[in-house]
């Protein structure tokens, strides 16, 4: 039996100089899946990736025509680099692994003119006529409602986004229920575990990888560190992982609090964060925003057994206080962070953190192991394959009739040019219409070779 063929649409490693959860996850689980599936990659570039057959996403339909795929798989996050994923899943619907469900990025603009509701309505009602061409289908709001409705199966790396999907998306292409599929992270080295003997009471190493913008709470953390340092002898050091274009603002922020022991690391990536975690006593994931969540970085911190502090909001609300330390955004936020830091600077506090570390590692091992994530994804795709194909085909099967409708539309348009004068009559002519014949010869001859 031949392996299932998958067209995999995602930002790939090397596509962007910014951090990408889609690229990181592709790097983690693609090699594991390639043993069971035949996977071709598609992205918004002409570069190839690893040993996989890689193509520009606009060539996907041609690859499908020459060697049909069983399903399309998309990874989607809120970034400009993912804009092509948002476009293409409206051309060939498939399984979507959502890493965001609210989008700050309004790109690409053409999706705002997508008549997806009208087309889904046509599919449901089995109506033969095509909806009238409207000028403007602008979709208000940040939710990925179109993408949610077109997903033949919606997977979510965030429970909170899954909840939002269940509340807001209706009239979907597929009846399959959404599934929570967690991130995959680098596995912790089982030989390295923390113990009381490894505690250095003279210094406390903190890690942070948010941006300098308000929602990442950097200013709150720096304020807390400054206050904590003033009342403890323990040297508190902060390692801040960030992008190059954030550095000057971050330096200015650190300067406002007059902190001396801050080290900047340039190039935010899961790999680099994982390397830095080996030196850390506490990691801070404080994002407080309706958009986004700490993503796989928090998962990586937990997997590495680094006690993590989160803002009790959004995705973090789903985490137990047994495995993370929670603070509330607001007036007491800095004081709560300071209290955590000062506690961690004591021997008793460090021992408590060791216990937290073990619990978080156990939790993360069960959830974020790339082998388990790949196995689950594999099972989900194989067990739902026939339904996934059926849903996707209900959309792509429209292409031949869309083509026919288009050609009829074209032939009825007024033509100005050397060959034809005046309006083309819509009724059947008694003699061959030369331009209509040319249109048929040029465009209609391969009617049956449209992608299915």
């Amino acid at each position: 039996m031949r392996p299932v063929r998958i067209a995999w649409f995602s930002t790939l490693p090397g596509d962007s100089d910014r951090s990408s959860v889609c690229a990181d996850l592709t790097a983690q689980i693609l090699p594991l899946l390639s043993n069971e599936f035949e996977i071709e990659l598609f992205h918004d570039s002409f570069e190839s990736y690893s040993a996989f057959k890689t193509s520009h996403y606009l060539n996907a339909y041609q690859r499908h025509q020459s060697q049909p795929f069983d399903l399309c798989f998309y990874q989607l996050e809120d970034s400009k680099d993912s804009a092509f994923v948002r476009s293409h899943l409206g051309l060939m619907p498939g399984v979507v692994w959502f890493h965001d469900f609210l989008f700050k990025n309004n790109t690409p603009e053409p999706i705002h003119n997508s008549p997806w509701r009208a087309i889904l309505s046509k599919i449901r009602s089995n109506h033969p006529e095509w909806p009238a061409r409207k000028g403007d289908f602008w979709e208000p709001g940040p939710y990925a409602l179109r993408e949610g409705a077109l997903a033949t199966l919606a997977l979510f790396s965030s429970r909170r986004n899954l909840y939002e999907y269940q509340q807001r998306v209706s009239g979907k292409l597929s009846k399959l229920a959404p599934i929570f599929l967690p991130y995959a992270t680098y596995l912790a080295d089982p030989k390295k575990s923390r113990s009381t003997s490894s505690i250095d009471q003279d210094q406390l190493k903190l890690g942070f990888l948010g941006g300098p913008d308000l929602e990442y709470r950097a200013y709150v953390l720096l304020s807390a560190i400054s206050a904590a340092q003033s009342i403890t002898q323990t040297k508190i050091e902060l390692t801040w992982l960030l992008e190059r274009d954030e550095l000057s603002r971050a330096e200015a922020l650190v300067g406002e609090f007059n902190l001396k022991n801050v080290r900047f690391e340039i190039g935010r990536s899961l790999k680099r964060w994982n390397e830095l975690l080996t030196e850390m006593d506490l990691a801070f994931h404080l994002l407080f925003s309706a958009y986004g969540d700490p993503k796989h970085y928090l998962a990586q911190s937990l997997n590495a057994g680094v006690p993590s502090v989160v803002t009790d909001f959004s995705e973090a609300e789903y985490l137990s206080a047994d495995i993370v330390l929670k603070v509330s955004a607001g007036l007491n936020e800095s004081a709560e962070l300071q209290a955590i830091i000062n506690r961690a600077a004591t021997l008793k506090g460090r021992k408590e953190l060791l216990e937290l570390s073990e619990r978080s590692k156990q939790y993360a091992c069960e959830l974020y192991d790339p082998n388990l994530v790949a196995k689950e994804l594999s099972w989900v795709l194989k067990s739902n394959l026939s339904k996934l194909k059926q849903s996707a085909q209900s959309w792509t099967a429209l292409l031949p009739s869309a083509k026919q409708a288009l050609l009829e539309e074209v032939k009825s348009l007024r033509v100005a040019g050397i060959c034809q004068a005046g309006e083309l009559r819509k009724e059947k002519l008694n003699f061959p219409d030369p331009l209509a014949q040319v249109i048929d010869n040029l465009f209609a001859s391969n009617l049956n070779s449209q992608a299915q």
Partner: protein, 365 residues
């Protein structure tokens, strides 16, 4: 000598680089003793379904003979002129319908995910590949255009840069305090970035804009920006100008701004160099980046008004830099084939399908 038709596409009431290229090619063919003429058909991109009609119109033309003259060769340039059918066809690709390719998914493309639009895209891409591959010789006006053919259509083509339209007439004069912008006024040419940069640029620097608007609402948008920032004394719209006026405007500019999005080629870049002027462009401007080298003959900025303003200020503050960039631009032009000598190469290559049959003469059949 041969009878040759250059196939051009005409958007009424506008004139851009493609029209200049066709006219220049016809002139040079005639100068070499060939019978040459242009065939142009009015073109519109709206409604988008019309694209199929317009391609079909070109396809339905019989270009084999006019009167007693047998047409020996046709040369296609811009979409959809290359859909024309002829036993001897060369293509000097200016550009395809980019909304289907590199502009797809951007604000410059109107192709949505409606299955009818997707059908339109697939039909035109397939047809492009068929009719372009028919040609006995395929080339593009820049590496950017040739790479698009390769990447999107798997068609190999030769890069054949168009020589400058005004040949040796470009000259240089002492620079005055203005930036020159030349080109059609439409969104993709991004003259608005330069207008919006002006408030951040030294007050004594002005902006002169040559070109006319060919998209609705563009002039209103520019004028709003000018009103908003009180730039009435600093921005001058010159519309269309004569060749002499254009040469003079280039000659006296401090520098030339040309930062369209993913440009095909960009005569303006090379005209600036020929006039010994540096070019301010953007890092996503496509064809211009084949010639502009940062800090050598131009400045490559981010496609933001702030970055462009910083580039302009660096020239305003350092006149020696502006002179150096211009001098290097002129050196580049003189060492290239882009002045009059280049036409010999272009015509030799475009006419190569005729050599295959040994036929270079064709008046009467």
């Amino acid at each position: 000598m041969a009878n040759i038709l250059v196939l051009g596409v005409k958007v009424p009431f506008t004139r851009g680089g493609a029209e200049v290229l066709s006219a220049s090619l016809v002139k040079e063919l005639r100068a070499r003793g060939h019978e040459a003429d242009t065939v142009e058909i009015p073109y519109s991109t709206w409604p988008k379904e019309m694209l199929l009609n317009q391609a079909a119109i070109w396809r339905s033309l019989d270009l084999s003979r006019y009167g007693e003259k047998k047409v020996d060769l046709v040369i296609g340039t811009k979409f959809p002129s290359y859909f024309a059918n002829h036993p001897k066809k060369s293509i000097w690709m200016v550009h395809q319908h980019r909304a289907l390719y590199d502009l797809y998914g951007t604000r410059f493309s109107d192709i949505s995910d409606d299955p009818r639009d997707e059908s339109l895209r697939q039909l035109l891409v397939k047809a492009d590949e068929r009719v372009i591959s028919e040609a006995q010789y395929i080339s593009g006006i820049s590496a950017n255009v040739v790479n698009r053919l390769k990447h999107y259509n798997s068609i190999s083509a030769e890069v054949l840069y168009p020589p400058l339209p005004l040949g040796q007439r470009y000259c240089s004069k002492p620079a005055e305090n203005y930036i020159l912008s030349v080109g059609r006024l439409c969104n993709i040419k991004r003259a608005d970035l330069m207008i919006k940069a002006l408030p951040m640029v030294h007050q004594f620097i002005k902006l002169k804009i040559v070109g006319v608007a060919d998209e609705p609402g563009v002039m209103d948008y520019y004028k709003n920006e000018i009103d908003k920032h009180h730039l009435w004394e600093r921005v001058e719209f010159l519309g269309r100008v004569s060749d002499e006026e254009l040469i003079d405007l280039y000659a006296r500019a401090m520098a030339v701004y040309y930062a369209p999005f993913n440009e095909d080629y960009g005569y303006v870049t090379l005209e600036a160099f020929a006039s010994s002027k540096g070019v301010i462009t953007a890092n996503d401007s496509g064809g211009t980046l084949e010639f502009v080298k940062h800090q050598e003959n131009g400045l490559i900025a981010d496609p933001t008004s702030e970055s462009i303003a910083a580039s302009v200020n660096s020239l305003a503050q350092d006149k020696d830099l502006a002179i150096k960039l211009g001098a290097n631009g002129r050196s580049f032009i003189e060492s290239s084939e882009l002045l009059e000598r280049g036409w010999d190469l272009v015509i030799e290559r475009l006419l190569s399908p005729l050599k295959e049959t040994g036929r270079m003469v064709g008046n009467l059949s």
